[in-house]
C-alpha cells in the first residue's frame, strides 16, 4: 500500500522563532528544517530573522551567520564555498542546489525556505545520510579498468575529441542534487542507481582508455538499476554544474540497444 503521509515521527512541527534585533535594517526571514535524532522529538521548522547587514550575498553566508549569531546548534555541511566540493547541497526554496553558489538576491523577495536534500535519511538538521548514494557510486566502478599495460615511458594518451567526450561528465562533484531531485530515485533508491551514479558509469563507458565497456554495460542492463529512469528531466534541470545526467542515461540505453543488433 502506498504511503501518502510521513511516518508519525517525521511530521514537521512548528519551531521556534528568532526575532531580528531592534534596529536591524536589512532583515531577511529564513525558515529552516531542524531535526535532532538524539532529542526524540519530531522535526520542526525554525524561523530566523537575520540582519543581512555585514552578511555575504550567498545562502551559505546567511547559514554561517545564523550559526554564528543566532543558533550555534544549526548543523549543515560546507567546505569550499565555491561550488567545487558539493558539500552544501540542500533544498533551497524548493530546488536542490548548492548554498554557496545560490545568491539570496536571485531567490525573489519572500522567506527563504531551507530543507535537507529530499527523501534521504536525515542525520541532523540539513545533513542527509548519503551512505547509499556513495555506495551506488562505488558500484559502477568509477575507475579505469584496463588489461593492457600502459606504455612504459608515458601515460595512456587520448586525442582531444576523446577527452572532450568525458570533459563534462567528469566534472560531476557528487553533490547529490540530481539524484535526490528524481522521483524514480525517491521511490526506488534501493535498486535504481540514480542520475549521479549513472552519469559516472557513462563517463567510464565512453572513456577511450577503458577496456571494460562490455562488463559495464552488462552491469547496467537491469530493469531497475538503469531503466527506472523515465526521463523526467529533474536531474538535468537542477544540476548546479550544468551537467546532463539525463542525456548520459539516454546514451547508455541507446548503447545497450545498439549492441544487440
Amino acid at each position: 500500500m502506498a504511503q501518502f503521509r510521513l511516518p508519525a515521527n517525521s511530521r514537521i512541527r512548528k519551531g521556534t522563532i528568532h526575532r531580528a534585533p531592534a534596529g536591524a535594517r536589512k532583515v531577511r526571514t529564513f525558515r529552516i528544517y531542524r531535526f535532532d535524532p538524539t532529542s526524540g522529538e519530531n522535526p520542526r521548522v525554525d524561523t530566523f530573522e537575520l540582519d543581512l547587514a555585514g552578511c555575504g550575498p550567498m545562502v551559505l553566508d546567511a547559514l554561517i551567520q545564523i550559526k554564528g549569531t543566532l543558533d550555534s546548534s544549526l548543523t549543515f555541511r560546507r567546505s569550499c564555498r565555491e561550488g567545487i566540493c558539493g558539500s552544501c547541497a540542500m533544498n533551497i526554496d524548493g530546488i536542490n542546489r548548492l548554498a554557496c553558489t545560490t545568491a539570496m538576491e536571485d531567490l525573489g523577495g519572500g522567506d527563504v525556505r531551507i530543507y535537507p536534500l529530499p527523501h534521504m535519511p536525515v542525520i541532523k538538521d540539513l545533513v542527509p545520510d548519503l551512505t547509499n548514494f556513495y555506495a551506488q557510486y562505488a558500484s559502477v566502478k568509477p575507475w579505469l579498468v584496463a588489461e593492457t599495460p600502459p606504455p612504459p615511458d608515458r601515460e595512456r594518451l587520448q586525442s582531444k575529441p576523446e577527452q572532450e567526450k568525458i570533459d563534462r561528465p567528469a566534472a560531476c562533484i557528487l553533490c547529490a542534487c540530481c539524484s535526490t531531485a528524481c522521483p524514480s530515485y525517491w521511490w526506488n533508491s534501493d535498486r535504481f542507481l540514480g542520475p549521479a551514479a549513472l552519469l559516472a558509469a557513462y563517463r567510464w563507458i565512453i572513456d577511450s582508455r577503458d577496456e571494460a565497456t562490455g562488463e559495464r554495460l552488462d552491469a547496467l542492463e537491469d530493469p531497475f538499476r538503469l531503466y527506472r529512469c523515465h526521463t523526467i528531466m529533474n536531474c538535468t534541470d537542477v544540476c548546479p554544474k550544468d551537467l546532463n545526467p539525463a542525456k548520459a542515461i539516454a546514451e547508455i540505453k541507446r548503447m545497450l540497444v545498439e549492441r544487440q543488433s
Binding site: 524548493g94 526521463t231 538535468t236 546532463n244
Partner: protein, 117 residues
C-alpha cells in the same frame, strides 16, 4: 516552487491512465459492433448520453496531451533534445500544441461531426 519537469511528467502519466480507462468505452463500442445490429443500436443509444459526451471531451484533452508528450519521449529516446534549454522549449511546445489539437478536435467532434458514434 514548481518545476515544469514535474508537471509535464506527471501529466503524461495521468493522461496515460485516463486514456487506458477510456479504452473501455472503445472496447464496448467494438464489441457491440461485433455482436450484431440490435446490440449496436443499444450501444449507440448508451454512448450518445450527455454524460458520456463530457467524458469524450476529457478524453480528447488527454489524448491531445499524451500524443505530443509521447512523441517528445520518442525523440528523447534517440538521444536528441535532452539539453536543458531544448527540454524547456519542447515542454512549452507540447503544452501549446496539445491545447490547439484539443480545441480543434473538440470543435470538430461537437459541432462539425455533430453525432456521437
Amino acid at each position: 516552487m514548481y518545476r515544469y519537469t514535474l508537471l509535464t511528467s506527471i501529466t503524461n502519466r495521468a493522461t496515460g491512465i485516463v486514456l487506458s480507462a477510456g479504452l473501455i468505452l472503445l472496447v464496448y463500442w467494438l464489441v457491440a459492433i461485433a455482436s450484431g445490429a440490435s446490440a449496436y443500436h443499444h450501444a449507440r443509444a448508451v454512448l450518445s448520453l450527455g454524460v458520456l459526451k463530457a467524458i469524450y471531451v476529457i478524453l480528447l484533452a488527454t489524448f491531445s496531451y499524451h500524443l505530443f508528450a509521447g512523441v517528445r519521449h520518442l525523440i528523447w529516446d534517440t538521444g536528441a533534445g535532452l539539453e536543458r534549454a531544448q527540454s524547456k522549449r519542447s515542454a512549452a511546445f507540447v503544452v501549446i500544441a496539445s491545447l490547439l489539437l484539443f480545441v480543434g478536435l473538440a470543435w470538430w467532434a461537437l459541432h462539425a461531426g455533430g453525432h456521437a458514434p
